[in-house]
């Protein structure tokens, strides 16, 4: 005779007459770009997934848990994705403990996740155990400057986003601002392009023709005006293309942009040795500034762009670039102005410096154009 499912007869013994179902408890503490997490996962559930009970005696010992530690951590962490905006926050386990909950022993994984940028939104994708037990749930608590939030992950809702609040909008702006500054300082190509254009600013070449010799500029006012024209032209140009590229209006292949940026540095350096754009260096700054803008956009896109705050990110990043640029000018200008009358400045700094910059940029161009790592 066929066996009947007795459960159907005692209906409630299958539902209400029950343990606590399988849950895990996830706490995320968000502070800027750092997220510190604690994840409590029932040993019973891990045993079902990974077989912790190595000697099959029906008991899970601490030794058995430790033996499977690496497997447990990779099993868990590959099933959890935390991101701020669209930039993922890779995580690493810092501490492993045990806790006793009312329904049994849990492993406690404490981990750190580092996000590339902070955003107004935390996006969490949770996939633990859903393939083995679709009734499993992940109970999430988020603590941030905006207060505490709670969420429940289920097989039907594995991904959820949490607004971290207005506080982080300002944080986010600062974050992108900082990224902009960092980028102009560590992106040598942009800095060298600017320097190459500024080196001759403290000098004038009164005579027409190539043979004319460089003379120190007479007034700071004259120098300042020249620098302002170059910097403004560069800023205006790269802001235009940075915005257009970030907003998706225009795009150029990254390899072409990188190669053109390198080429622009060569041209700027060569122009100091064999001037073509003499007083019109601002025009050079503008034309190539357009190319550099595309380069900035690649960086910004790589940082991850949260849709709702795209403009905020764009303005912040651009402002950061300008601030970084301004700092370079402020350091360069007084020094160059002070040294402008010396032969060292003309011979070593202007010609030598431009030569070194040109050679370096030539090497970049070869690397980038031919895709050599």
């Amino acid at each position: 005779m066929r066996r009947f499912i007795v459960c159907a007869l005692f209906l409630l013994s299958c539902s209400a007459f029950a343990h606590k179902p399988s849950d895990s408890y996830l706490t995320l503490d968000v502070a800027g770009t750092s997220v510190s997490g604690q994840w409590d996962i029932a040993l019973r559930d891990l045993d079902f997934a990974l077989g912790l009970d190595a000697n099959q005696d029906g008991e899970i010992t601490w030794g058995e848990v430790k033996a499977k530690q690496a497997a447990i951590e990779s099993y868990a962490l590959t099933r959890l994705a935390v991101a701020q905006g669209s930039s993922p926050c890779p995580s690493q386990v810092r501490e492993r403990l045990i806790d006793r909950h009312s329904d049994g022993a849990y492993i406690v994984l404490r981990f750190d996740a580092q996000c590339a940028t902070s955003a107004s939104e935390l996006r969490v994708t949770y996939g633990l155990f859903f393939d083995l037990d679709p009734q499993h749930k992940g109970l999430l608590q988020i603590q941030s400057a905006a207060g505490n939030r709670a969420g429940v992950f289920s097989a039907e809702r594995p991904t959820q986003s949490f607004v971290l609040g207005d506080v982080s909008r300002r944080q986010q702006f600062t974050e992108y601002l900082r990224e902009g500054v960092v980028h102009i300082w560590t992106g040598f190509d942009h800095m060298l392009f600017l320097l190459a254009l500024l080196l001759p600013s403290v000098l004038v070449r009164p005579g027409a023709g190539r043979a004319g010799a460089w003379k120190p500029a007479s007034s700071f006012r004259q120098v300042g005006w020249d620098v302002l024209k170059v910097v403004t032209a560069f800023t205006l140009a790269h802001s235009i293309t940075l915005s257009l590229a970030t907003l998706g209006v225009l795009s150029l292949p990254a390899r072409l942009v990188d190669s053109l940026v390198a080429a622009s540095v060569i041209v700027a350096a060569l122009n100091n040795v064999m001037p073509v754009f003499r007083e019109g260096r601002w025009l050079l700054a503008f034309l190539f500034g357009l190319v550099h803008g595309f380069g900035f956009a690649t960086v910004l896109v790589d940082l991850g762009l949260p849709r709702p705050t795209l403009l905020l990110a764009l303005v912040g990043f651009n402002a950061g670039v300008e601030l970084g640029q301004l700092a370079i000018v402020l350091v360069f200008l007084p020094v160059a102005f002070g040294l402008r009358a010396t032969t060292v400045y003309r011979r070593v700094v202007l010609y030598g410096g431009s030569g070194v910059i040109g050679v370096l940029a030539g090497w970049w161009l070869i690397q980038r154009a031919f895709n050599l790592a």
Partner: protein, 380 residues
């Protein structure tokens, strides 16, 4: 509100490798150890419905015998190849219906069963399951016609039990008792039917305040002393008869089954035991966890907790009402009556009175509550 659920204060590093952190249920159950082997076989061929269905049935049985809903999730997971099919194989539809009713998705369960019975009118499991779901919803006439279609498809005793269960809820408790007694004394009744019949007998006795309830429960418990449903039903009887001490010995202190923890906490509170606060705290943690995960299948127990242990009749009434909208078993009627009486809610009392009048349900304790409610109103 969520603070403190599950995430407890002091995680630790165990002192020794040999320290036992968790005892798995299979330690004491050879049947559960067998499931591991079956699971391995299914993993090799996850699309073999016969094999998968056998495992899913075993998981559903384990969920019941262990009182652990995890096994229902495991069953759902192995059913995955058929889970989303609206019109899948019969065996898959019946199992899906069983799992869906377990999570109180009664309408979806009934849709699956209707489909099976259109295809195979003599599918006994589908008939029984549909009769049960309809009974829980209080749709007795429809349930009865499923019971009446059983003879020939299933052993006669199942048809008898099925009809007697409905009789006992519709004003024919005496007939039900006679039929059940006769069925239980027949030869060759299988263990499942015997457990069902004895539990029904105990419950009918309890509702009628009949002294015969105790020996019936005890006999059923001899068959399976750990059956969570049975232990819970007998505990309720003991609590009604002010014998909390026996409940404390019947339900172990470390029970992980929430409804049993509730009965133990009720008993300890009645005894004014020093252990009562700890049990109530543990129960509170479970209730909060269940709310946090958004479950609603425990509203009946939650209402009892709110009323008797948390002193919150308004909340209890709200939960009992919501619960009664979904399921209408005698225990659901009783919780609603208790909560309505405590909250002095005339509408709730009226709902209970009408239910009893319309169905003919005989339940002495509920009738006393109705009388107390009416008396209270008259006194004011």
């Amino acid at each position: 509100m969520l603070t403190g659920i599950g995430v407890q204060a002091a995680p630790f590093v165990p002192g020794a490798d040999s320290e036992v952190l968790e005892r798995l249920p299979e330690k004491t159950s050879p049947q559960l150890r067998q499931l591991k082997a079956m699971r391995a076989m299914v993993a090799r061929d996850p699309n073999d419905l016969a094999q998968v269905a056998a495992l899913a049935r075993r998981y559903i049985e384990a969920a019941r015998s262990e009182g652990d809903p995890r096994y229902l999730g495991y069953a759902e997971a192995v059913m995955k190849p058929w889970w989303k099919q609206p019109d899948g194989p019969t065996a898959a539809l019946v199992l899906r219906a069983t799992l869906r009713q377990s999570s109180h998705d009664f309408d979806a369960a009934l849709a699956d069963l209707d489909r099976v019975l259109r295809r195979e009118p003599r599918n006994a499991q589908a008939r029984l399951t549909r009769a049960t779901v309809l009974t829980v919803q209080g749709r007795y006439a429809q349930a009865r016609s499923d019971c009446e279609a059983l003879p020939g498809a299933a052993p006669q005793v199942y048809a008898t039990l099925c009809s007697a269960a409905i009789d006992s809820l519709t004003g024919k408790a005496d007939e039900a008792l006679r039929a059940l007694d006769a069925a239980m004394s027949a030869r060759g009744v299988d263990a499942g039917a015997r457990a069902w019949g004895q539990t029904l007998l105990g419950e009918i006795g309890q509702r009628r305040d009949d002294a015969s309830a105790e020996p019936r429960f005890r006999e059923a418990l001899r068959g399976d002393p750990n059956d969570p449903y049975l232990v819970g039903a007998f505990s309720d009887w003991l609590l009604d008869h002010e014998r909390p001490r026996e409940v404390v010995t019947l339900i172990p202190a470390d029970t992980r089954i929430d409804p049993l923890l509730l009965r133990r906490a009720l008993a300890l509170t009645m005894l004014r035991s020093d252990d009562a606060p700890a049990a109530v705290d543990a129960l509170r943690a479970r209730v909060l966890a269940s709310r946090a995960r958004g479950d609603t299948v425990h509203q009946r127990e939650e209402a009892r907790y709110a009323l008797a242990l948390n002193g919150d009749p308004a909340m209890a009434l709200e939960l009992a009402r919501r619960n009664f909208a979904v399921q209408r078993e005698p225990a659901d009627v009783r919780v609603l009556a208790e909560a309505a009486l405590a909250a002095r809610d005339a509408a709730g009392m009226r709902e209970v009175r009408e239910w009893l009048a319309n169905t003919g349900l005989q339940y002495a304790a509920v009738e006393r509550m109705l009388a107390a409610g009416a008396g209270g109103r008259a006194a004011r």
